[in-house]
Subunit: 339 residues, 2 copies
Amino acid sequence: MSLNRRIVLASRPVGDPVPENFEVQDVPMPEPGEGQVLVKTLWLSIAPYMRWRMNDAKSYAPPVALGDVMVGATVGEVVRSRHSDFAAGDIVIGLGGWQQYAVCDGKALRKQDAEWGKSAVMLGVLGGNGMTAYAGLFHIGKPKPGETVVVAAASGGVGSLVGQMAKLRGARAVGIAGGPEKCRFVVDELGFDTCLDHRAPDFPQALAKACPDGIDVYFENVGGAVWNAVLPLLNDFARVPVCGVISQYSATEPPPGPDRTPELMRLILSRRLELRGFVLTDFLHIQDEFNAAAVAWHRAGQLRYREDVHQGIDAAPQAFIGMLKGRNFGKVLVQVAQD
Amino acid sequence: MSLNRRIVLASRPVGDPVPENFEVQDVPMPEPGEGQVLVKTLWLSIAPYMRWRMNDAKSYAPPVALGDVMVGATVGEVVRSRHSDFAAGDIVIGLGGWQQYAVCDGKALRKQDAEWGKSAVMLGVLGGNGMTAYAGLFHIGKPKPGETVVVAAASGGVGSLVGQMAKLRGARAVGIAGGPEKCRFVVDELGFDTCLDHRAPDFPQALAKACPDGIDVYFENVGGAVWNAVLPLLNDFARVPVCGVISQYSATEPPPGPDRTPELMRLILSRRLELRGFVLTDFLHIQDEFNAAAVAWHRAGQLRYREDVHQGIDAAPQAFIGMLKGRNFGKVLVQVAQD
């Protein structure tokens, strides 16, 4: 009998996740029921939101239960189908999670267009990353040509696309990333106007210098010290799509004082700022609009991206732990099977 | 030669304003130039934003200069006109400031409709207060019928109208005010569904109990401890028009820690909150829409309000200082002249 290797949540992290929070299990191959499909995972997307799902706390989605397979978006190949829309060999996108094989409801799967072969593009530029960037940037940030858009985590899966999309619509893109190598990539490969290293001791001053006309849109992925440097530079009527606060997911207690909340509320008023949180699933109604724009840009080679690929399902926990520490360089993927 | 009594900013307050920050001056009656109008002040509106204008700090409007007349909206009677649109005896609305007579540019004045006589209604329900309430509530808060709208400073000039407008459009209105007398007024006279005393020791618990379905719109006038009690109760997709933070205008240093900003940013994301600051002048384009709605409501007696009237220009500083401490009961006005 063949086995399915999977990674379950063994314990909830206190602070930064450690390998012991995960358990690798070899379990019997699952069987699809009526209307279901057995999918062999090819690619697993690793993303910061997963850290939040490990906490036993109310959020926009329920936490992963202890002993359950870790959640995650996947590209896979249909092995056996009991749903009329799918047949063996189809390449499908779904939420297979951290495992080699997943049984998915047919209605929760989408076929990957043959144009994209067995690539992970539907997990990145044409998938959740791309649509998150698009929704936050254009439906909340709404940059006008010539405005300054600042993007945190600018070399990552979402941030790298935000800046490029901003440029495609005529705005100026300023990235923030961790370290000189990532910053060079953001400027030289992705085409941002400039990129600042948030680890540099003079980061707040450098950011101010890089934004001589202030900041009109700040795409928030990070929180913490980066946010503190951005806030004083926001222009009147600036928009702040809040997509993530990766610096805070593992926080076990609030940072020491003083309490800067009143200062933030004063600035929201005096500069008439708009802060708005969002997650991808709030924007499913723009799927067609996004597809049309993103596919055209992608075919024209106008959206560059970098994949940080880890091999084999066993690599998922370390890929995830490293990403939370900023050790990734580009969109983090696990290649679970090669064919 | 007749004199004009006026109140100028003598010094900038550090913390709470004191009478010594103001100076009463008797100066020669000003003369209108070409295109200008000499207006005798009947009513002066006193409002929290004036505290902010006393600080020498960048904000949405420049600070009042030392030695300048304090700013303020006024209803007055034209004494002498050198502008073709106005004649002696006209009742006009403008920004006359804290003085008995003001020279105003004709183009900065509007005539008060004869229907309102010499009343201060154009400073309150049909003026800046009403339009501020309307803009923040309907253009940012956007309550749906049945949703819960919470209003800080609910017995004040703006807050009292926010809750009534919310009710008129089918929402549930929960007020927050200082003391049992104001709370009774908010419920019995203004018709809010309920009102909580923010000075009560169990205020956070009482607010939670008064909002069993959470909070969908929070109209922020106050900041500080009231905001801290509201934040945990905000529903997914709640909207927060930030109109004022009266508890913070006189703050000389940030409150002690921990820093609650990261917690706020996390909640903005996980609950997809929208926080947006605004001031009245951002919404001049809705003037006609507001007028149509407010005049109809006012004629039908559907917008109750209470005026807290102080007599004579000399009373302005104490009226203002008292308002910042919450000693007012209703919209604060100075009746500068009776006819």
